[in-house]
């Protein structure tokens, strides 16, 4: 029985996928701007731009199928993420939220698109950049709306709290607004994409490796592939969800900065 599961006699063990699998070498020479993730980011910009330019080109009262598709995504972000959360000033932030959602969603879905098969957001640099944008936007909005003094005062000294509590609350609030929010925002997205891609690698590379083994292992390998396919669907859900959460949290932070009291 043991021999049935023994790996191939060459002694070449299975190399589990690691974070190194995300370090893709430049395509052209040593140029760090020619890696796959960077091409994918530009591809996402082109795809999203072309799709929405085409679907919004006519802006007809009675939409075509294409316009309807584009409009559905746009009005989802505009109404469910913008209007319902930010309130009456939401229109100013719709372009940002819309860009955020479509950009993150497209780059996430690249993770399961055949041949591309790499979620760009599993490169931590991109979530960092987006989190910094959101960080700048919501603080800027809050300062513009309430003045820097009142804005900082509201963050540090939450109104309606007994004074001694500030000893605890002020550091927590400061950390929340200036450290935890951007960090969790970027790391949540990054970690989900990273872990998801790693999981797919484990099952699919594992299945491949099992298939090279002896008969017993060959029989198991289809299960690994099947699991990999099931996980692909699961990944699709996670990818959409993470794009939604990133945009939702950005909208919530903006709404919080706009509100008179935090």
């Amino acid at each position: 029985m043991r021999s049935l599961f023994r790996l191939s006699g060459e002694g070449e063990g299975f190399v589990p996928p690691s974070s190194n699998d995300f370090e893709l070498p430049p395509v052209f020479g040593d140029n760090a701007f020619t890696t796959k993730p960077i091409f994918l980011v530009f591809l996402s910009v082109i795809l999203v731009s072309v799709f929405f330019l085409l679907s919004s080109r006519k802006a007809a009262v009675v939409p075509s199928k294409l316009q309807f598709a584009g409009e559905s995504i746009y009005s989802f972000v505009r109404n469910d993420l913008g209007r319902d959360i930010i309130g009456h000033e939401f229109m100013r932030f719709v372009p940002y939220l819309f860009t955020l959602f479509t950009f993150v969603l497209t780059n996430n879905i690249f993770g399961i698109v055949p041949f591309l098969q790499f979620p760009t957001m599993s490169r931590v640099s991109f979530p960092y950049v987006l989190a910094v944008f959101t960080f700048v936007v919501f603080h800027y909005v809050g300062i513009r709306k309430q003045g820097i003094v009142k804005y900082l005062k509201d963050i540090m000294f939450m109104p309606g709290v007994p004074k001694p509590v500030y000893v605890l609350l002020t550091p927590i609030e400061l950390a929340t607004f200036f450290l935890v929010r951007p960090l969790t925002l970027s790391l949540r997205l990054f970690a989900n994409m990273f872990a998801g891609h790693l999981l797919l690698l484990v099952f699919i590379l594992g299945g491949e490796h099992l298939f090279q083994g002896v008969l017993g292992l060959k029989l198991i390998s289809p299960f690994a592939f099947a699991f990999g396919i099931g996980l692909t669907f699961f990944e699709f859900m996670v990818q959409c969800l993470q794009a939604y959460i990133f945009t939702l949290l950005t909208a919530l932070y903006i709404a919080g900065a706009l509100a008179d009291e935090h």
Binding site: A32, V45, S49, F52, A60, V61, S125
Partner: protein, 177 residues
């Protein structure tokens, strides 16, 4: 390459960002933001505004049409009831007029009948008078003739003759009474 994978020390820390990727991420996102903000969002908003306007316009038009229809209906009902009243009045008038005409005709007919009756009476009376007069002379002549035959006495004298006849007739009348 494979050997290096076993060495944990050589593993890359996935949390460390790459400068190139940071730059590309910021540039790409900004590009997309500019495109979507300047071209896509205004067009979708325009479509939404126009759609809202179209729907509202349609609803207003429908409301107006409904009001119009209601007004027309009220007007028709009004006209209908007026027409009914008029018809009722006309029937009433006709009935009254008919009665009047019948009454008038009846009166006329009665008058005519009375007139005809009166004329008949008059003519009968005159004919009776005529008959009485002629009878009186004829009966007188016959009676005289008869009497003269019976009595044998000629009653030639006209004057006497008529006196006798008159007296006879008077006697007759008296006895008749």
């Amino acid at each position: 390459m494979e050997n290096s994978l076993y060495a944990a020390a050589e593993k890359v820390n996935p949390l460390v960002p790459h400068t190139a990727e940071l730059i590309v991420g910021a540039v790409a996102f900004s590009l997309l933001f500019i495109v979507l903000r300047s071209r896509v969002v205004p067009m979708f908003e325009k479509a939404f505004t126009e759609r809202t306007a179209a729907i509202q316009g349609g609803m207003e038009r429908a409301e107006k049409a409904q009001l119009e229809a209601q007004r027309a209906l009220a007007q028709y009902n009004d006209q209908l009831s007026t027409a009914r009243e008029e018809a009722q009045k006309m029937r009433e008038d006709a009935r009254v007029q008919g009665t009047a005409i019948v009454e008038e005709l009846r009166v006329k007919a009665q008058e005519e009948a009375a007139r005809i009756t009166a004329a008949a009476h008059a003519s009968i009376e005159s004919e009776r008078q005529q008959a009485v007069t002629s009878l009186r002379s004829e009966v007188g002549a016959l009676a005289v003739e008869l009497a003269s035959k019976i009595v044998g006495e000629a009653l030639d004298d006209q004057a006497r003759q008529s006196r006798i006849v008159d007296r006879f007739l008077d006697d007759l009348e008296k006895s008749a009474k």
